[in-house]
Structures are given as structure tokens and as C-alpha cells.
Amino acid sequence: MAPDRPALAAAAVPRPPLVSRLRGLVSLAVVAAVVAVAYRQTDFDIVALFTGAADFWRFFGRLVPPLSEMGSNWGAYLPQLAKPLIETLQIAYVGTFFGTLLALPLLFLASANTAIDPVTMWVARVLLTVLRSIPDLLWAAILVPILVVGPLPGAVALTLFSIGVLAKLGSETVEAIDPGPLEALRAAGAGRLATIVYAVIPQVAATMVSFVLYVFEINVRASVIIGLVGAGGIGFTLQQRLNFFDYTGVGLIIVVIFAVVLVIDAISVWARSRLI
């Protein structure tokens, strides 16, 4: 700033109106109060994080073996990981497939412009809300004691969660379609199914395929970790390594999981960018 430039007169900058200033202050105070309560109630100790940083890095050191041993250790591990890794992708695929299949009828029931009547619409909406409110890992934890330990509860858990996400995204899309074709078909006397097939599906098909890919992405992320609660896949191997305090194995599995998720994400993002 040039030193000789005259300072702005204080009066030249109008102050925002009192109401908006008050609203800002009140919002800030509420947020500050919530954060203060949260800080006390969770015993969150941000200082200890810095004082304990040395321990933290020592732990990281154990995750990564010395370079000289890395080749032999990792070489021995990698083949063992192929099977659980394939199982992980299988769980994600099965979950996405059945999730999509079951979401299709539900999403039309839950959309205001294709619903049969208000009662079934709200039943469908409540069901979808419950399906989505319970995270996929929790679904897996609930289903493992019911179904046999292994990939089956994992696949069912991902199916349930996928239904919730996909039907929600889908019904938002269906509700936003151009009502013209819908009304034209109804006026011509078409039945409910014919209306959906000829007026709704052509408008939403591309978006829906993109959502299915997105849900597959979510399911791959979930399927790598649901093994932690016994639902199959590479997460199960990770849990075993953790129980044995085998941190070299843990570190390697974390790297492999990270790589798989990155690759699947990249493919899915590329495919979705081509669709729309």
C-alpha cells in the first residue's frame, strides 16, 4: 500500500445492520458453547497429541519395516492377500447388484410423482431413512451374529445400505424430471408401469447408472473394512494381524487397501465422467 494514500474514513464504510450483526454474534456464541461442552465431555486433549507425538511416530515406524527387510516381508505377505482382496471385491459387487435390484421398486414408491398412494410413499420413505441411518459397518456388525461369519453378512449389509443410498438419490432424480412426458402418457391412458418405463426411465437412466457406480465405490470402501467385525474380505485379515500385534502386516494391509480404493475410485470417476 502506498504510504501517502489517505486512510479510509471510518464513517465511509457502512456497518452492517444491527439485526444481522446480532444474528452473527448469537450463532457464533451457540457454536462456541457447543464446542466448549463437547471439548469437556469427550476429554479431548489436544495438548497431549503434541506431547505424545514421539510415541505416535514410533508407532508409525513399526508399521513400516526397515527397508532391508521390506522386500522379503512384503513379498511373503502379498500372495496371502490375493484371496481376501478378491473376496472384498466380490462382496462389494454382490451388495451393489442386489442393492440396485431392490432399490428400483422402492425408489418409484418413494417418489411423489410416481408413488401409488401417500401411505405406501411414506412407508417407503421411512424404511429408506432407517436403512441409510445405520452405517454399513454397523449393519455388518448386526448381521454377523445372525448370518454365518464370512462374506454372506457382509454382502447382505452392503445390500441394505445400498438400497437406502441408491433409492434416496434415485427418488430425488425422479422427482426432478420433466413432468411433460409423464402427463402425456397418463392422458393417453397408459398404466403405471408403462408410464414409468416410457416417461421416467429414459429421463433418469444415465443418472441412475452413474449413481450405481457411485454406490459401488462406496461399497468397495465399506467392503475393505467390514471384515473388522467378521464380515469377510481383507478387513478380516487386518483384524487377525491386529490381534497378533503384527504391525508390519497391518501396515502392508493398510497400504494395499488404500491402493485398491484409489484404483477403483479412479476407474469409477472416469466412467461416471463419460456418462454425463
Partner: protein
């Protein structure tokens, strides 16, 4: 009457053929996957179901309200964890987002390392971060808050940098033309433009983090997941159902409040 319906256009028929081909491929792949998967036999599944379903039904139709205060308290702690995790992620993402904004760094190439870092953070599963923090810093909410905070950087940093890249230059130039300096430009042209978007996305991330926080306890990172996984191991379905009611109730109410505020913000 046959003449009144025009033949299906070629591009529609092609799209339909592609759709059918994809569906057939998907079914074939499903058959292959199911055949190679390590699935239990139907009789084994049925024996399991026969054993678990009756107590499960009894438990879910008679939730044990004795554990309600415990579940409610644990869920409140989960909520607090989500608040702090989101705040931590927001503060860290705020700093990083400037390093990933093309218009501030002057070029796509210079913003690329920051953007790549954000993708890497976003991709790294939260629960793995929680496992690492639990192993390094001990079990408890702090590990969960740290995991959420770090993971949230990926999402929030991307959104924040997108918002900064989309900023309208007009108000900035106007304030400069009126003689305002850098501080004035930041306070009166940048902050008013980005604040509602930042706040709205922080709230959205808070909704996501609340869901995530309910499961962090499964690996010992605090919140309602810890007491819940114990009950799952002992199949205390009457108590589990109370926990699930509390979780779903909290999430639905928080989602409603948060989305109402978000609609008013933007």
C-alpha cells in the same frame, strides 16, 4: 391404427441395446461371483437363522428401556465427537484449501499437489485412521476425533478450494477501487462470499461425521459403538434394539435440524 405410432428412433434402439447388454453382463458376472464366493450352505444359514431369529424378534419387539440412559449418554458423547472432529477437519482444511485453489496459486499445475493430497486423504478409510490412532494414542474419544478430523480434511478441503475458485472478482475489485487494502478486500469481499458455503458444508460434513462416529467405537475410538459392539457379541437383542432406536433417532433429528439451517444459509 398401426400407422399412428412412429417406429422407435435408431438412437433409442441403440441405447436400449447397450442397456440390455450391460444388464446381461452384470447378471453373468453375478453368477460367476456367487459361484466362486466362499458362501455358507443354505442348511447352515437356516440352522443359524432358526437359532438367532426368535430371540432377535423377541428383543426387537421388546426394547430394554433400562439401558436407554446409557445409550443416550453414549450417543451424546458420539455427537460431541462429531462436533470436534468436524471442527478440527474444518480448521485444517481451511489452511489446505488455499494450497489447492487454482486462482490463488496462479495455475492448475501449482494447485495439483494440494489437490492430490486432498484426494489421498479422502480415500484413506476413516476406520483405518481410527485403528492407527487407537494403537498410537490409546483407546477413547480422542482417537476417534483425530480420525474424523484428518479424514474430513479431504472432503472439506476439496469443497473449500472449489468455493474459493468460484469466487466473484467484482466485489474485490470494487473495494480495491474504493481505496480498500488487502484486509478490507478479505473482510468485505472474500469472507461474505465464502462464509455461507463454508458453514453449510461444515454442517453437511457434521451429518456425515455423526454417522461415522457411531461406528468408530467398534475399534475402540469412543462413542456409542463401543457399548454396542459388546452387546452384539453377547447378542443382547433387547438392549441392541434400544441402542439402534437411539442412533436412528439422533441421526434423523440432527439431519433435520442441520438441513433446515443449511437451507437458510445458502
Amino acid at each position: 391404427m398401426t400407422g399412428t405410432v412412429p417406429p422407435t428412433p435408431a438412437h433409442v434402439r441403440r441405447a436400449r441395446a447397450v442397456g440390455i447388454a450391460i444388464a446381461v453382463l452384470a447378471v453373468v458376472l453375478l453368477v460367476v461371483v456367487l459361484a466362486t464366493m466362499d458362501l455358507p450352505t443354505w442348511t447352515r444359514v437356516r440352522t443359524g437363522l432358526n437359532r438367532t431369529l426368535p430371540p432377535l424378534w423377541r428383543g426387537f419387539t421388546n426394547p430394554d428401556w433400562e439401558v436407554f440412559p446409557l445409550a443416550f449418554g453414549a450417543m451424546l458423547q458420539t455427537l460431541y465427537m462429531a462436533v470436534l472432529g468436524t471442527l478440527l477437519g474444518g480448521v485444517l482444511a481451511f489452511g489446505l484449501s488455499f494450497l489447492a485453489a487454482r486462482n490463488l496459486l496462479g495455475g492448475t499445475a501449482r494447485a495439483a499437489p494440494g489437490k492430490a493430497l486432498l484426494v489421498a486423504i479422502r480415500t484413506f478409510p476413516e476406520i483405518l485412521l481410527a485403528i492407527i490412532f487407537v494403537a498410537a494414542a490409546g483407546p477413547g474419544p480422542t482417537a476417534g476425533i483425530m480420525a474424523m478430523g484428518i479424514h474430513s480434511i479431504g472432503f472439506l478441503g476439496k469443497i473449500f478450494s472449489d468455493v474459493i475458485e468460484g469466487i466473484d472478482q467484482g466485489p474485490m475489485e470494487a473495494i480495491r477501487a474504493a481505496g480498500g487494502d488487502g484486509v478490507h478486500v478479505f473482510l468485505y469481499a472474500v469472507v461474505p462470499q465464502v462464509l455461507p458455503e463454508f458453514a453449510s458444508n461444515l454442517l453437511y460434513r457434521f451429518e456425515i461425521n455423526l454417522r461415522a462416529a457411531t461406528i468408530l467405537g467398534l475399534v475402540g475410538a469412543g462413542g456409542i459403538g463401543g457399548p454396542l459392539i459388546q452387546r452384539l457379541q453377547f447378542r443382547r437383542w433387547d438392549e441392541i434394539s434400544t441402542f439402534l432406536i437411539v442412533i436412528v433417532g439422533f441421526i434423523v433429528v440432527v439431519d433435520f435440524i442441520s438441513s433446515t439451517i443449511r437451507r437458510r444459509l445458502v
